[in-house]
């Protein structure tokens, strides 16, 4: 079984987010980049599935050379090889097009993504990719088991879950609970250095969106502290002052 995992390199979850003075660009200086947490869950699952089903795991990233440390991390966790599409990820459609182009030339039995990247927060790449490939997609997959060519998944829905069944190949977005996070061991880290990382050039894609600017949320006014003995007045106070309840 050949598994592809789409991985994104994102600012560390504790990173302070800053923009250039014209608010047009994210300032990467001083920021540590990590493997997007949901992609790490998806990758951990892929490594487990490959072990169970005698398969291989390829990771793919659309990004410039600065994403390579994150790709090496994915190899250390257990991917067999990696592909980097050499282009800055412009938007979700651009990324989905690059990956679909690669997959149409190099077929896989299963494609795993994260349910969401922590920088774009689109939850769009997996769904667009599935549409471009004419495949089903389970975007919020909390569990995944495979038996022969049939997969069973738990998918999050409003206020509950659905148990789904689908034939390979398909695209899934990994959500919390899909797998335990794997911590690379020393052997993984050593072997990651020599595992194959292929760089391919990007295909042309019509531009669909243009980033105009970034903005930061307004800071809240100072907190109003309420004594424990006055806790009983909280809801009245919110109703009077904020008019939201």
């Amino acid at each position: 079984m050949k598994i592809l995992v789409c991985i994104s390199s994102v600012p560390d979850t504790t990173a302070k987010i800053n923009f250039t003075p014209d608010n047009k660009e994210f300032v990467a200086a001083g920021v540590t980049f990590i493997l997007n947490p949901y992609d790490e869950v998806a990758l951990s699952k892929a490594v487990d599935l490959a072990a169970q089903h005698n398969g291989t795991v390829t990771v793919i990233n659309v990004g410039d050379a600065t994403t390579e440390p994150v790709i090496r991390k994915a190899l250390a966790i257990g991917a067999n090889d990696a592909v980097r599409v050499n282009a800055v990820a412009r938007d979700s459609f651009f990324v989905a097009k690059q990956i679909s182009d690669y997959v149409s030339k190099n077929p896989f039995d299963l494609i795993l993504c994260g349910r969401e990247s922590s920088d774009h927060n689109g939850s769009s790449v997996p769904v667009m990719l599935a549409e471009l490939l004419g495949m089903p997609c389970v975007l919020f997959a909390k569990s995944l088991t495979i038996d022969g060519t049939t997969a069973t998944l738990d998918s999050e829905i409003e206020g509950g879950k659905e148990v789904l069944s689908v034939s390979l190949p398909f695209v899934a977005g990994g959500s919390e609970g899909m797998a335990e996070w794997k911590i690379p061991n020393m052997r993984g880290i050593m072997s990651a250095r020599t595992k194959p990382l292929t760089v391919v050039e990007a295909v042309e894609v019509a531009q669909k969106t243009r980033l105009v600017s970034f903005d930061k949320p307004a800071t809240r006014s100072a907190v109003k502290m309420i004594a424990v003995d006055d806790a009983g007045k909280l809801f009245e106070m919110i109703r009077e002052e904020k008019k939201i309840i």
Binding site: T13, T14, F26, Y38, S92, F93, A96, S118, D119, N121, G122, S123, S124, V127, M128, E131, G134, M135, P136, C137, E156, I157, E158, G159, G160, K161, E162, V163, L164, S165, S167, F170, E176, K208, T209, R210, L211, V212, S213, F214, D215, K216, P217, R220, V223, K224, M225, I226, A227, V228, A231, G232, L234, E236, M237, I238, R239, K242, I244, I245
Partner: protein, 325 residues
């Protein structure tokens, strides 16, 4: 040209989020001076469909084929794209619910459109078409211009007020050709916690963290939530430990929410937690540690032991409810 809004139903009924999304689409339609068309998929009764008119949809397409009675993102996307083509839609709007998120990117690809996902306000259409959406997990906003002639938008629940705007809804049946390839996924079972309020859509949320000590102490959190008509949520370590289901976990790696009120008990306010809740309109923090970082991100703070404060809040909620009736 028109604005098309896809309205989701839950077991044949429209929830508040459906009226919210019609109101939002109606405002866009007015802004760009185009008629509004609503699309319902699945089995919804005539009385319920007529309700779309109360928020400005004069035309309602009813795609009620048997095959569409169960939610299926692939098939629904095909139906929405077919409706968008039939109505020559310039803007297609839906909610960024779980279902909407699984559908909108497909619709965008099918229509060769630009996608604005998780938008939080009306687009700026003064000279081009610019949407505002969350980025960096709640730590920033991005203003994005949508360049293609057709735009598909998914809106973050709770970002727009329901605006009554009564017109008479003319409902017509919509039966596009349906491709069997769209039915590759089989739903074997649907498990829904009954009676609970959907967290992403909730207007009020009561959330608790490791400060609650153990799952056996969640009774009072649930009681407070019930009294307020709020959904319950939790921090990541709480769901990791299995004290609460993963579906309640909010934050950077959980659900991002923007309710009117977020009341957090025994949660320290780590940056990853704040990322998912900071766009809540009012935040109340209860924590026994006056130095807890969450107080810096709160509107109201109570320094005290949860086991003392929450019972007081329960009494307050009872009194508050009584005063409203």
């Amino acid at each position: 040209m028109s604005v098309l809004v896809y309205i989701e139903n839950a077991d044949g009924k429209f929830r508040k989020s459906a009226f919210e999304i019609i109101s939002y689409a109606a405002a866009i339609a007015q802004q760009i001076n185009k008629p509004l068309v609503a699309l319902s998929i699945g089995k919804v009764g005539a009385d319920e469909l007529a309700k779309a008119g109360q928020y400005g949809a004069a035309k309602v397409l009813n795609a009620d084929a048997d095959q569409l009675s169960k939610s299926n993102p692939q098939a629904y996307a095909s139906v929405i794209a077919a409706a968008a083509k039939a109505e020559n839609a310039e803007v297609v709007v839906m909610s960024a619910s779980y279902n909407g998120k699984s559908v909108a990117p497909r619709v965008a690809v099918k229509l060769d459109a630009s996608l604005g996902e998780n938008v939080i306000s009306l687009p700026d259409t003064s000279s081009s078409f610019i949407v505002k959406k969350g980025a960096y997990s709640g730590k920033a906003y991005a203003m994005v211009e949508l360049l293609a002639p057709v735009k598909v938008l998914s809106m973050m629940p709770n970002s727009f007020k329901v605006v009554p705007n009564a017109v008479t809804a003319a409902v017509s049946s919509f039966q596009p050709a349906i491709d069997s390839k769209d039915f590759a996924v089989t739903v074997k079972e649907t498990v829904r916690a009954s009676g609970t309020i959907s967290l992403p859509e909730a207007e009020l949320v009561v959330s608790a963290g490791r400060g609650m000590k153990g799952p056996e102490n969640w009774g009072m959190i649930e009681e407070l939530a019930n009294l307020l008509g709020a959904a319950t949520a939790c921090s990541k370590p709480v769901s990791d430990a299995g004290w609460r289901p993963h579906s309640e976990h909010v934050g950077q790696t959980g659900i991002a929410i923007s309710p009117n009120l977020y009341l957090a008990v025994g949660i320290s306010g780590a940056i990853q937690h704040l990322a998912g809740v900071s766009s809540s309109k009012v935040i109340v923090v209860v924590n026994k540690d006056p130095e807890a970082p969450f107080f810096k991100a709160a509107d109201y703070g109570i320094v005290g032991d949860a086991f003392e404060v929450v019972p007081k809040l329960i009494e307050a909620a009872k009194a508050f409810k009584a005063s409203q009736n």
